[in-house]
Amino acid sequence: MIGAGIKRGTAELAILSVLEEGPLHGYEMARRIEEQTKGALRFTLAALYPMLYRMEQRGWIRGAWETSPSGRRKRCYRLTPAGKKKLSPLRKEWAELFGALKRLTKAAHA
Protein backbone atom coordinates (compact mmCIF):
# COMPACT_ATOMS: atom_id res chain seq x y z
CA MET A 1 0.00 0.00 0.00
CA ILE A 2 1.44 3.34 -0.98
CA GLY A 3 1.50 5.89 1.83
CA ALA A 4 -0.35 9.21 1.67
CA GLY A 5 2.75 11.28 2.27
CA ILE A 6 4.56 9.88 -0.72
CA LYS A 7 4.57 13.17 -2.60
CA ARG A 8 6.71 14.89 0.00
CA GLY A 9 8.69 11.69 0.16
CA THR A 10 10.31 12.49 -3.22
CA ALA A 11 12.36 15.26 -1.70
CA GLU A 12 13.02 13.30 1.47
CA LEU A 13 14.19 10.28 -0.50
CA ALA A 14 16.48 12.44 -2.65
CA ILE A 15 18.09 14.06 0.39
CA LEU A 16 18.47 10.83 2.35
CA SER A 17 19.93 9.10 -0.72
CA VAL A 18 22.65 11.68 -1.36
CA LEU A 19 23.50 11.82 2.33
CA GLU A 20 23.88 8.05 2.36
CA GLU A 21 27.03 8.61 0.29
CA GLY A 22 28.50 10.94 2.92
CA PRO A 23 28.02 14.25 4.75
CA LEU A 24 27.19 17.29 2.63
CA HIS A 25 26.30 20.91 3.14
CA GLY A 26 23.12 22.39 1.66
CA TYR A 27 24.50 23.83 -1.58
CA GLU A 28 26.52 20.73 -2.37
CA MET A 29 23.47 18.58 -1.64
CA ALA A 30 21.29 20.54 -4.09
CA ARG A 31 24.04 20.38 -6.74
CA ARG A 32 24.54 16.64 -6.24
CA ILE A 33 20.79 15.92 -6.54
CA GLU A 34 20.54 17.99 -9.71
CA GLU A 35 23.55 16.25 -11.23
CA GLN A 36 22.50 12.74 -10.30
CA THR A 37 18.95 13.22 -11.59
CA LYS A 38 20.27 14.97 -14.74
CA GLY A 39 18.36 18.10 -13.83
CA ALA A 40 15.02 16.37 -13.25
CA LEU A 41 15.07 17.29 -9.56
CA ARG A 42 16.11 20.79 -8.62
CA PHE A 43 16.20 22.25 -5.15
CA THR A 44 16.21 25.98 -4.72
CA LEU A 45 17.31 27.40 -1.39
CA ALA A 46 13.65 28.06 -0.51
CA ALA A 47 12.72 24.45 -1.10
CA LEU A 48 15.78 22.83 0.39
CA TYR A 49 16.25 24.35 3.83
CA PRO A 50 12.72 24.03 5.24
CA MET A 51 12.93 20.37 4.18
CA LEU A 52 16.35 19.91 5.81
CA TYR A 53 15.17 21.54 9.04
CA ARG A 54 12.06 19.36 9.10
CA MET A 55 14.12 16.22 8.59
CA GLU A 56 16.54 17.34 11.27
CA GLN A 57 13.68 17.87 13.71
CA ARG A 58 12.53 14.32 13.01
CA GLY A 59 16.00 13.07 13.80
CA TRP A 60 16.72 11.64 10.33
CA ILE A 61 19.66 13.93 9.65
CA ARG A 62 21.98 15.95 11.82
CA GLY A 63 23.64 19.22 10.95
CA ALA A 64 26.90 20.48 12.43
CA TRP A 65 29.07 23.48 11.61
CA GLU A 66 32.35 22.58 10.01
CA THR A 67 35.23 24.57 8.59
CA SER A 68 36.33 23.78 5.07
CA PRO A 69 40.03 23.90 4.03
CA SER A 70 39.34 27.35 2.55
CA GLY A 71 38.34 28.53 6.05
CA ARG A 72 34.67 28.91 5.21
CA ARG A 73 32.16 27.70 7.78
CA LYS A 74 29.42 25.47 6.48
CA ARG A 75 26.71 23.45 8.10
CA CYS A 76 27.17 19.85 7.06
CA TYR A 77 24.42 17.28 7.30
CA ARG A 78 24.86 13.60 7.87
CA LEU A 79 22.43 10.71 8.19
CA THR A 80 21.51 9.56 11.69
CA PRO A 81 20.75 5.90 12.41
CA ALA A 82 17.04 6.87 12.31
CA GLY A 83 17.56 8.37 8.85
CA LYS A 84 19.29 5.24 7.61
CA LYS A 85 16.37 3.21 8.91
CA LYS A 86 13.89 5.49 7.13
CA LEU A 87 15.64 5.19 3.76
CA SER A 88 14.79 1.57 3.08
CA PRO A 89 10.95 1.82 3.45
CA LEU A 90 10.98 5.08 1.48
CA ARG A 91 12.79 3.35 -1.40
CA LYS A 92 10.30 0.50 -1.24
CA GLU A 93 7.34 2.90 -1.40
CA TRP A 94 8.82 4.59 -4.44
CA ALA A 95 9.51 1.32 -6.18
CA GLU A 96 5.88 0.35 -5.53
CA LEU A 97 4.63 3.66 -6.90
CA PHE A 98 6.71 3.43 -10.07
CA GLY A 99 5.69 -0.21 -10.52
CA ALA A 100 2.02 0.74 -10.18
CA LEU A 101 2.35 3.63 -12.63
CA LYS A 102 4.17 1.44 -15.13
CA ARG A 103 1.43 -1.17 -14.97
CA LEU A 104 -1.20 1.54 -15.34
CA THR A 105 0.38 3.12 -18.41
CA LYS A 106 0.90 -0.30 -20.02
CA ALA A 107 -2.77 -1.14 -19.45
CA ALA A 108 -3.84 2.21 -20.91
CA HIS A 109 -1.73 1.62 -24.06
CA ALA A 110 -2.96 -1.97 -24.53
Partner: protein, 232 residues
Protein backbone atom coordinates in the same frame (compact mmCIF):
# COMPACT_ATOMS: atom_id res chain seq x y z
CA UNK B 1 29.72 41.27 -4.02
CA UNK B 2 26.42 41.73 -2.15
CA UNK B 3 26.35 41.28 1.62
CA UNK B 4 24.45 38.02 1.62
CA UNK B 5 24.23 37.91 5.41
CA UNK B 6 22.53 41.29 5.44
CA UNK B 7 20.18 40.26 2.65
CA UNK B 8 19.13 37.08 4.48
CA UNK B 9 18.70 38.97 7.78
CA UNK B 10 16.44 41.48 6.11
CA UNK B 11 14.51 38.87 4.16
CA UNK B 12 13.87 36.75 7.22
CA UNK B 13 13.32 39.60 9.66
CA UNK B 14 10.60 38.67 12.10
CA UNK B 15 11.51 34.99 12.12
CA UNK B 16 10.36 33.89 15.55
CA UNK B 17 13.24 31.69 16.64
CA UNK B 18 15.72 31.98 19.48
CA UNK B 19 18.61 34.39 18.84
CA UNK B 20 21.19 31.62 18.43
CA UNK B 21 18.98 29.50 16.22
CA UNK B 22 18.11 32.49 14.06
CA UNK B 23 21.77 33.42 13.67
CA UNK B 24 22.54 29.86 12.53
CA UNK B 25 19.77 29.98 9.92
CA UNK B 26 20.98 33.37 8.64
CA UNK B 27 24.58 32.17 8.43
CA UNK B 28 23.64 28.94 6.68
CA UNK B 29 21.40 30.55 4.09
CA UNK B 30 23.88 33.36 3.46
CA UNK B 31 26.65 30.78 2.89
CA UNK B 32 24.40 28.99 0.40
CA UNK B 33 23.63 32.17 -1.53
CA UNK B 34 27.28 33.22 -1.50
CA UNK B 35 28.42 29.88 -2.87
CA UNK B 36 25.67 29.94 -5.46
CA UNK B 37 26.72 33.43 -6.57
CA UNK B 38 30.40 32.44 -6.77
CA UNK B 39 29.57 29.43 -8.94
CA UNK B 40 27.56 31.60 -11.32
CA UNK B 41 30.50 34.03 -11.52
CA UNK B 42 32.93 31.16 -12.20
CA UNK B 43 30.63 29.98 -14.96
CA UNK B 44 31.27 33.33 -16.60
CA UNK B 45 28.04 35.18 -15.86
CA UNK B 46 28.35 38.96 -15.47
CA UNK B 47 28.03 40.06 -11.84
CA UNK B 48 24.56 41.54 -12.33
CA UNK B 49 23.27 38.36 -13.91
CA UNK B 50 24.92 36.22 -11.21
CA UNK B 51 23.20 38.26 -8.51
CA UNK B 52 19.89 37.99 -10.33
CA UNK B 53 20.18 34.22 -10.73
CA UNK B 54 21.13 33.85 -7.07
CA UNK B 55 18.12 35.89 -5.98
CA UNK B 56 15.87 33.65 -8.07
CA UNK B 57 16.40 30.94 -5.46
CA UNK B 58 14.04 32.74 -3.13
CA UNK B 59 10.84 33.86 -4.83
CA UNK B 60 9.08 34.91 -1.63
CA UNK B 61 11.02 35.69 1.55
CA UNK B 62 7.87 35.82 3.66
CA UNK B 63 6.89 32.37 2.51
CA UNK B 64 10.41 31.09 3.24
CA UNK B 65 10.31 32.65 6.71
CA UNK B 66 7.00 30.91 7.44
CA UNK B 67 8.25 27.58 6.06
CA UNK B 68 11.42 27.73 8.14
CA UNK B 69 9.48 28.58 11.27
CA UNK B 70 7.06 25.68 10.73
CA UNK B 71 9.93 23.30 9.94
CA UNK B 72 11.94 24.31 13.00
CA UNK B 73 8.92 23.86 15.24
CA UNK B 74 7.83 20.56 13.67
CA UNK B 75 8.84 17.04 14.57
CA UNK B 76 7.62 15.04 17.50
CA UNK B 77 8.96 16.85 20.58
CA UNK B 78 7.88 14.11 22.97
CA UNK B 79 9.47 11.35 20.92
CA UNK B 80 12.63 13.39 20.54
CA UNK B 81 12.79 14.01 24.28
CA UNK B 82 12.37 10.30 24.95
CA UNK B 83 15.16 9.39 22.54
CA UNK B 84 17.54 12.17 23.47
CA UNK B 85 17.03 12.46 27.22
CA UNK B 86 14.77 9.99 29.01
CA UNK B 87 16.02 6.74 27.47
CA UNK B 88 19.76 7.53 27.77
CA UNK B 89 19.19 9.09 31.21
CA UNK B 90 17.23 6.19 32.68
CA UNK B 91 19.59 3.66 31.12
CA UNK B 92 22.57 5.45 32.68
CA UNK B 93 20.80 5.45 36.03
CA UNK B 94 19.73 1.80 35.84
CA UNK B 95 23.17 0.56 34.80
CA UNK B 96 25.02 2.62 37.39
CA UNK B 97 22.66 1.42 40.14
CA UNK B 98 22.92 -2.22 39.06
CA UNK B 99 26.70 -1.86 39.10
CA UNK B 100 26.61 -0.32 42.58
CA UNK B 101 24.47 -3.17 43.92
CA UNK B 102 26.79 -5.69 42.24
CA UNK B 103 29.84 -4.05 43.79
CA UNK B 104 28.21 -4.07 47.21
CA UNK B 105 27.29 -7.72 46.72
CA UNK B 106 30.94 -8.43 45.96
CA UNK B 107 31.97 -6.73 49.19
CA UNK B 108 32.98 -3.30 47.89
CA UNK B 109 31.16 -1.23 50.47
CA UNK B 110 31.15 2.56 50.74
CA UNK B 111 33.78 3.96 53.09
CA UNK B 112 33.60 6.88 55.43
CA UNK B 113 35.97 9.61 54.30
CA UNK B 114 36.65 12.56 56.57
CA UNK B 115 37.06 16.03 55.12
CA UNK B 116 37.26 19.50 56.56
CA UNK B 117 37.98 18.37 60.14
CA UNK B 118 35.20 16.40 61.75
CA UNK B 119 32.99 16.28 58.69
CA UNK B 120 32.67 12.89 57.02
CA UNK B 121 31.00 11.49 53.95
CA UNK B 122 30.39 8.09 52.44
CA UNK B 123 32.24 7.30 49.22
CA UNK B 124 32.29 4.12 47.16
CA UNK B 125 35.50 4.53 45.21
CA UNK B 126 35.18 1.62 42.73
CA UNK B 127 31.67 2.81 41.88
CA UNK B 128 32.81 6.42 41.49
CA UNK B 129 35.57 5.29 39.13
CA UNK B 130 33.00 3.54 36.95
CA UNK B 131 30.67 6.53 36.71
CA UNK B 132 32.53 8.43 33.94
CA UNK B 133 31.93 5.39 31.72
CA UNK B 134 28.20 5.36 32.49
CA UNK B 135 28.06 9.13 32.00
CA UNK B 136 29.84 8.71 28.67
CA UNK B 137 27.39 6.00 27.63
CA UNK B 138 24.38 8.23 28.38
CA UNK B 139 26.00 11.11 26.53
CA UNK B 140 26.83 8.92 23.55
CA UNK B 141 23.27 7.59 23.27
CA UNK B 142 21.81 11.08 23.58
CA UNK B 143 24.25 12.47 21.06
CA UNK B 144 23.50 9.64 18.63
CA UNK B 145 19.80 10.52 18.85
CA UNK B 146 20.66 14.09 17.87
CA UNK B 147 20.62 15.65 21.35
CA UNK B 148 21.98 19.16 21.78
CA UNK B 149 25.06 19.68 23.99
CA UNK B 150 22.83 20.62 26.91
CA UNK B 151 20.64 17.53 26.48
CA UNK B 152 23.71 15.31 26.13
CA UNK B 153 25.13 16.60 29.41
CA UNK B 154 21.75 16.31 31.11
CA UNK B 155 21.46 12.69 29.97
CA UNK B 156 24.95 11.88 31.28
CA UNK B 157 24.27 13.38 34.73
CA UNK B 158 20.69 12.15 34.87
CA UNK B 159 21.21 9.68 37.79
CA UNK B 160 22.60 12.40 40.08
CA UNK B 161 19.91 14.89 39.02
CA UNK B 162 17.11 12.36 39.49
CA UNK B 163 18.37 11.38 42.96
CA UNK B 164 18.71 15.04 43.95
CA UNK B 165 15.14 15.62 42.78
CA UNK B 166 13.92 12.57 44.72
CA UNK B 167 15.69 13.67 47.90
CA UNK B 168 14.40 17.21 47.63
CA UNK B 169 10.85 16.02 47.00
CA UNK B 170 10.94 14.26 50.39
CA UNK B 171 10.62 17.60 52.16
CA UNK B 172 7.22 18.69 50.74
CA UNK B 173 5.91 15.11 50.64
CA UNK B 174 6.91 14.49 54.26
CA UNK B 175 5.44 17.79 55.32
CA UNK B 176 2.16 17.06 53.53
CA UNK B 177 1.94 13.54 54.97
CA UNK B 178 2.57 14.76 58.48
CA UNK B 179 -0.25 17.28 58.03
CA UNK B 180 -2.61 14.61 56.67
CA UNK B 181 -2.00 11.91 59.31
CA UNK B 182 -1.50 14.42 62.09
CA UNK B 183 1.76 13.12 63.51
CA UNK B 184 5.48 13.34 62.79
CA UNK B 185 6.75 10.75 60.32
CA UNK B 186 10.34 11.90 60.18
CA UNK B 187 10.68 12.23 56.40
CA UNK B 188 12.49 15.50 56.81
CA UNK B 189 15.00 13.88 59.18
CA UNK B 190 15.74 11.16 56.63
CA UNK B 191 15.94 13.67 53.81
CA UNK B 192 18.25 15.96 55.79
CA UNK B 193 20.55 13.01 56.51
CA UNK B 194 20.57 12.05 52.85
CA UNK B 195 21.29 15.61 51.77
CA UNK B 196 24.10 15.81 54.32
CA UNK B 197 25.63 12.78 52.63
CA UNK B 198 24.89 14.38 49.30
CA UNK B 199 28.56 15.00 48.62
CA UNK B 200 29.26 11.27 48.46
CA UNK B 201 26.04 10.23 46.77
CA UNK B 202 25.14 13.21 44.63
CA UNK B 203 27.87 15.80 44.08
CA UNK B 204 30.90 13.56 43.51
CA UNK B 205 28.97 10.99 41.44
CA UNK B 206 27.40 13.85 39.50
CA UNK B 207 30.84 15.27 38.73
CA UNK B 208 32.12 11.82 37.69
CA UNK B 209 29.14 11.31 35.37
CA UNK B 210 29.59 14.79 33.95
CA UNK B 211 33.28 14.09 33.26
CA UNK B 212 32.25 11.16 31.05
CA UNK B 213 29.61 13.27 29.33
CA UNK B 214 32.02 16.13 28.65
CA UNK B 215 34.58 13.69 27.26
CA UNK B 216 32.06 12.26 24.79
CA UNK B 217 31.06 15.79 23.81
CA UNK B 218 34.69 16.69 23.14
CA UNK B 219 35.31 13.51 21.20
CA UNK B 220 32.26 14.12 19.04
CA UNK B 221 33.17 17.71 18.28
CA UNK B 222 36.75 16.61 17.57
CA UNK B 223 35.52 14.02 15.12
CA UNK B 224 33.29 16.59 13.44
CA UNK B 225 36.09 19.07 12.83
CA UNK B 226 38.46 16.40 11.58
CA UNK B 227 35.87 15.37 9.00
CA UNK B 228 35.51 18.91 7.78
CA UNK B 229 38.58 18.75 5.59
CA UNK B 230 37.11 15.86 3.66
CA UNK B 231 33.83 17.66 3.14
CA UNK B 232 35.30 20.80 1.62
Amino acid sequence: MPDWREIVSKGLSGLKLGAGEKEEVHAELAAHLEESYEVFCKEGLPEKEAVHRTFEQVADWQDLRREIFIAKRSGHPMQKRVQQLWTPGFLTMALSMIFLVTLQGLGFQARVVSWNGPRTTLLNLPWLLSLPFFGALGAYLSSRAGGSRRTVLLASTFPALALTGAFLSMFPIGFAMERIIGRRVGFSIVATTLLRDGIGWLLVPGAALLAGGVLVNLLFSGRTSSQSTAVG
